[in-house]
Amino acid sequence: MGPEIYIAGIGAITAIGNNVAQCLSSFENEKAGMGDIAYLDTLHRHKMPVAEVKLSNKQLAEITGISTTISRTTLLGLIAAKEALSDAFMDDFSSLRTGFVSANTVGGMDKSEDFFKDFVSDHRKGKLRNVFDHECGCVTEAIADQLGIRDYMTTISTACSSSANAISYGARLIKNNLLDVVLAGGTDALTKFTLNGFNTLMILDKDYCRPFDENRQGLNMGEGAGYVVLVSAEVAKTLSKELYCKLSGYNNSNDAYHQTASSPDGTGPYLAMRGALVKSGLNPSNIDYINLHGTGTPNNDAAEGTAVKRLFDPNYPPMSSTKSFTGHTLGASGGIEAVFSILAIKYGIIYPNLRFETQMHEFSFAPEKRFLTGQTMNHVMSNSFGFGGNCTSLIFSRI
């Protein structure tokens, strides 16, 4: 299993809160983040709900103190990344080898959309300031520069499993003794590119999504950012604040079935969950809660459910999809849901799977509908699966 990796800080911004405390409060009040499209300038406004962060770019820029000309993806990422670092009491990490591993799926696409409006008709037109930092890596770099992290940074993009892979990669950088501290996670803002992309695939629910329900109709697009501060055992000993938990297992497997669809037998999800269990040295019966990928699409939930059945039947742990609150935040979802999984361990809570009514006919299990407190939470599994068959599961464990 190798050296232990500890979680020293967390940060998140989503449609249900601009920080971790606000997100927790929305869970307690069972308050979903979806609504009519307020900030994204799109033809689809009033036609489908999305889960937007409830701040305009101007407000985000004011909070972060950087320019509105910067991608919303960077602005969201900076807020959550800063929260995670200060939560870990690590404002000064100059004496430690510190890295930033961040994920996103479309970089500065929101700004590139503005550029292309003019560029499409005339290639001499379009403001270059809207496109020069289009690359995914530019988002990471801009955040790292603001935070003063210089020792190492990189960006991962494996569609909707991106930031779960960023967290395991960050942990491995510490295990390989290349770094002492890694801020890892991901960020993605809602863009017309992704909204329309998912719309062409006809997997968007016109109402609020219903993950793992027999009558689910698709997902709701969301946005946000989620980061965790990973530290080595040596660094953990020096910290004044109580650690959250440890990252005990992770696995990255590929479904190798189809570019966008999941296999009917849930091969990739099954291999990822099983691999993470093996890595952590745990059995299925040790898992106290699964934070499902649970997008609400007919295909994902059937494949993930089949994989859960293969691994856990007949003793199912409580499980739920927090995407019923936050929508699907794409490249940020693994980071955001890692934060929620860590909170589940710290506070002994299980999140409700909102709007669940009818159990899927092919399964003998159903997601948890209530917000539960006082739970014994030793081990929590978090699933993130994406296009390209990229499947990753993480396991967090009580110290």
Binding site: I156, T158, A159, F193, G197, N252
Partner: protein
Amino acid sequence: MKIYIRSSACISPQKTFGKVSFLREAVEYNENRLRVIEPNYAEFIDPKLIRRMSHIIKMGVAAAQECLHKSNTIMPGAIITGTALGCLEDTVTFLTRLIELNEEMLPPTAFIQSTHNTVAAQIALMLKCHHYNNTFVHKGISFESALLDATMLLNENEADNILVGGVDEMTDASFTILSRLGLYRRGPVSNFSLFETSSNGTIGGEGAVFFLLTDKPLADNLAELIGIQTFYRPNDVDEIEQKIIAFLELHALQMDDIDLVITGKNGDLKNDKVYYQLSSSLFSNTTVANYKHLCGEYPTSSAFALWLTSMMIRKEDVPLVTIERSAKNTAPKKVMIYNHYLNIYHSLMLVSAC
């Protein structure tokens, strides 16, 4: 633990792919955009699939297949790619339609294939490979990040026979935008005289290069990958020198032990300043070679440099077209690649004969 390069395949603007001599017939270009020499993709990909694949997917998949073929590997233990800009052609297609059709009646194919992990995913799909699969998208160190991931997986005993590659495509739109951003020469230039006519701007390129890495000392291994390191925004050339010396010391080496340095010189005055300074200081007693006049400048071009290096070592031959200045023998045993991208991301790779 030692890490070896078992095989490699390179699709580039030069004749580097398939049964070809090792850069005996370098290709001259008289424009600022170097396009890859396309292989016959039907040899590697089902013709039914080829029609739907964008350029980057085709070159990525073909290079990966050829790399596996060269080492008789059926199933790699992991697939890792680095690509700074990802599937640009499909991204631009979807973005253009989105605007032209005003968000209505859009076809999904371009979107589906626009995600940055598409090349790694398509390789996994063709091979039915369920193993570790990752994609790094960090500007000038995308390939280096992928390579570091591969070396860590080997160190962790998590996988063997790791397929790792660097892939980037140049499209009409990206060439236009990067030209407007001032990356390229204003007028046409011969790639053969790129370094003699140093001025502002370089020439653009693209490519797909894959490697198979193992920790097993096999007789056919091309070379040993001793180390890899990246660093960010050094203050000045002194700091760069210190980083290089420290990197060599980490592997118990000194500059005198290095037979050949391959630099990322690209013909742009500002970009090349660092290389000129180093060649009169730290690199002054070493043979220096360059590669970007062959493949053009692009964010994952260091994968081309690593291919070039492994071939030089394996073939015991430093092609004349690469040599800037000769000081030592021409059958190099230890080679260091030093590249930087826009003076922001710097990378060092150390490769040795087995």
